[in-house]
């Protein structure tokens, strides 16, 4: 993904056991913080429908 040009901070891997709830919370917080810092993703996003709803039937 990074090779392809997706910003590195947007990809995280972690190994969390089902018992490690605190770690899960920490990692999620860390990831969301990191991604928020990067701002809105501009790549790897599908184009929004360009036309507003048309009035021709």
């Amino acid at each position: 993904m990074e090779h392809m040009g997706v910003a590195p901070g947007r990809i995280h891997f972690s190994w969390i056991s089902s018992a490690e709830s605190t770690k899960f919370v920490e990692v999620v917080k860390e990831v969301t913080d990191a991604v928020k810092q990067l701002g809105p993703n501009t790549r790897f996003r599908k184009t929004d429908p360009t036309n507003s709803l048309a009035k021709v039937a």
């Binding site: 990074e2 090779h3 392809m4 040009g5 910003a7 972690s14 990692v27 790549r43 996003r45 599908k46």
Partner: protein, 315 residues
């Protein structure tokens, strides 16, 4: 080359006549220059149509999937590695196959050679290290090394890795080549440039899926792009859907791809999608010292765990 053809025919003929195999998968002469057609031969007499030259780039391992018969198959280095993959992935057993190994000196890149001459190529003749091409108003002698498919130019497994009989003497393997120069060049780009590089690369894609279908690894009964419940990928020509197809397909080939070049060769619009699979091939080699399809008895890195496996990416 002609000695290869004679051996292929006589081995295939014998196997069919003796009942060692029920059919032989090989190539027959194509209907146009620089093309041969994969074919299936069921009778000893039928082996007379088998041919071999530097236009046998299609990976024949693709044709053994799901067959129940005892199969004879013609295999160059990469085909044989993909046959090993099929064995490793339990798609077929070694006993169901008899392999005519063909030491290979590389396949011609049809797109490249066509671009090197001034008109349509109407006739091709191969000599040892040269390819002579003729058109309506030109004739040129080209060095074979200059017209090879790029994956062949950097191939270090030209000899078949498994076979029952050989169609010719083993050839010297290439050494001292940088197999991943193309990947390294992309790695050296900035993040944004990499994004743009792939965007441009995939712009002509028409999603015909020739790359997937030519690939001997892509044998899934239903590909993820065709799933409707859930639908993973949109079906229009949106560039993100196109890219999702290409990079996810590459992931599915991680640790399995032999860089046979079938995908690139099959592409009607000339996309070199090997730059995706090669990155993963390189990573597999760097991280695990792994090259796919060399030994039917070794499990691949993605289905084994070793205590020393690199895990720096896990937080």
């Amino acid at each position: 080359m002609s000695s290869y053809i004679e051996s292929i025919r006589s081995i295939a003929e014998k196997w069919l006549a003796d009942g060692d195999v029920e059919l032989v998968i090989g190539f027959r002469a194509g209907s146009m220059p620089l093309m041969n057609e994969p074919c299936l031969v069921r009778t000893p007499a039928g082996t007379a149509q088998l041919v071999w030259d530097s236009n046998c780039g299609i990976n024949l391992a693709n044709y053994i999937t799901g067959r129940k018969e005892k199969i004879g198959i013609v295999a160059k280095g990469c085909d044989s590695r993909n046959i090993v993959n099929h064995i490793v992935e339990n798609k077929i057993s070694r006993e169901q196959l008899k392999i005519i190994g063909v030491p290979c000196q590389g396949m011609i890149d049809r797109r490249k050679i066509t671009a090197m001459v001034p008109g349509e190529i109407l006739e091709v003749r191969e000599e040892d290290t040269a390819v002579i091409v003729k058109g309506a108003d030109f004739e040129e002698t080209l060095a074979k090394a200059d017209v090879l498919q790029q994956n062949c130019a950097v191939c270090i497994h030209r000899n078949p890795v498994i076979y029952d009989e050989l169609a010719g003497e083993l050839v010297a393997e290439q050494d001292g080549i940088d197999r991943y120069a193309d990947v390294k060049a992309i790695e050296a780009l900035a993040e944004e440039e990499r994004w743009d590089y792939f965007e441009k690369l995939l712009a002509p894609c028409i999603r015909c899926y020739a790359c997937r279908n030519a690939c001997p690894l892509c044998y899934c009964p239903t590909c993820f792009v065709d799933e409707s419940k859930p639908q993973w990928v949109g079906k229009s020509q949106d560039p993100i859907d196109v890219r999702t197809f290409h990079f996810l397909r590459a992931y599915h080939c991680a640790g399995r791809c032999t860089d046979c070049g079938a995908c690139e060769r099959a592409c009607p619009v000339g996309i070199n999608m090997r730059v995706f699979t090669k990155k993963l091939e390189k990573d597999c080699y760097d991280a695990f010292g792994w090259e796919a399809g060399l030994d039917p008895d070794v499990r691949p890195p993605l289905d084994t765990y070793r205590p020393g496996d690199p895990d720096a990416f896990i937080k």
